[in-house]
Symmetry: C2
Subunit: 212 residues, 2 copies
């Protein structure tokens, strides 16, 4: 089977989406973290009834808690644990959405060491259950954002496992992803990229049926 | 529109499900928490490729962290935050699953104060997006478990908001839920209850179409 890549076609948020949209001036990162940007986006989705997607809390192992009289319990000893799943999930239009967001300062490639093996395993399982699994990758020095479907990401991951390169080059990233641009509201409209991606999959499936 | 309740029909896990199933001896609670039982169940679902459902980490506000040389970061001051969503979610067979699990020691009713308003709001949103939202309620003194679809739960919740009773009686619980029994493996097969519930909805929809 030949896999057809999305060819890195650039997705620009349309001005037809619901809700107010201001003129798209220059939107630099302005010191916001990717997490801030995604939280804003997800709040927009929830408040406009578009989707219900949240960041999961950071997993923390609590070891000791004090319960002072008349005030809130204080955790006095705890440790960060390694997440065993992706950071973001939820539901959109009847579909389960599951993704991990990562940033790199590199100008040329995305290092795969940013992703844990159990996160890839988790995305595989979600994909097999009919959920939509992807990575959202920010090249912060270039201020470019890429939505990478799990099905394409996993090829690069398996190349690494097989002893190949330990990163995805920027050129490859453009080939295997849908690029999105930061806007005003929603800040990072990743669901539009997912919609584009699903439409393309459906169109390809229809074309295959017509040929058969 | 008349709402037809599931009539509290009791669901008993069939012996035809995948994977090994031992003879169902008497399964008391044996000191396990509901969370333990659900973690076991979810591990079973994941390891058998049935579903990918996890408990979300408890949300914690980290205030102070020490970074000792040559060892793991230690959180030395942190506070528990109120969860804004349900505790469990994931994907099963292309469907988004979202639920909250609660226990009561009461023999006669489930107090609604166990549920936060923002959790009900969250379940409403999930339901509107086509996800499957429900409560799993354990009457621990009776060792009975009930899967309550959001659509039925919300009626009792709204009755409380309107100034009515602040709990769901055991009799009502039997009417608006699918009861499940604790088994060996999976420990609490709540997805079988969800399947039963979806089949019933579909059957009713078909019957309505035939009448029209």
């Amino acid at each position: 089977m030949t896999i057809r890549y999305p060819n890195g076609r650039k997705y620009t948020p349309s001005s037809q989406s619901n809700g107010p949209r201001k003129v798209n001036h220059s939107f630099g990162n302005r010191g916001k973290t990717l997490e801030d940007e995604l939280n804003e986006t997800n709040e927009y989705y929830v408040s406009h009834g578009i989707a219900v997607i949240h960041k999961k809390p950071v997993p923390i192992q609590v070891v000791n808690v004090n319960y002072p009289a008349r005030s809130a319990a204080v955790i006095t000893e705890a440790y960060f644990r390694t997440p065993s799943t992706t950071d973001y999930n939820g539901v959109w239009n009847g579909k389960h959405i599951d993704f991990e967001a990562k940033e790199t300062k590199s100008l040329t490639s995305f290092p795969l060491q940013n992703i844990h093996e159990h996160q890839v395993e988790h995305m595989k399982r979600v994909h097999e259950q009919g959920g939509i699994a992807f990575l959202l990758i920010h090249f912060s020095s270039l201020d470019r954002y890429f939505v990478v479907p799990y099905e394409y990401f996993v090829e690069k991951w398996e190349r690494k496992i097989a002893g190949g390169r330990k990163s995805i080059t920027l050129g490859e990233m453009e080939e295997i992803s849908i690029e999105i641009q930061a806007g005003f509201n929603p800040r990072l409209d990743y669901l539009q990229a997912v919609r584009l991606w699903l439409n393309r999959l459906q169109k390809e499936a229809t074309e295959r049926q017509e040929i058969e």
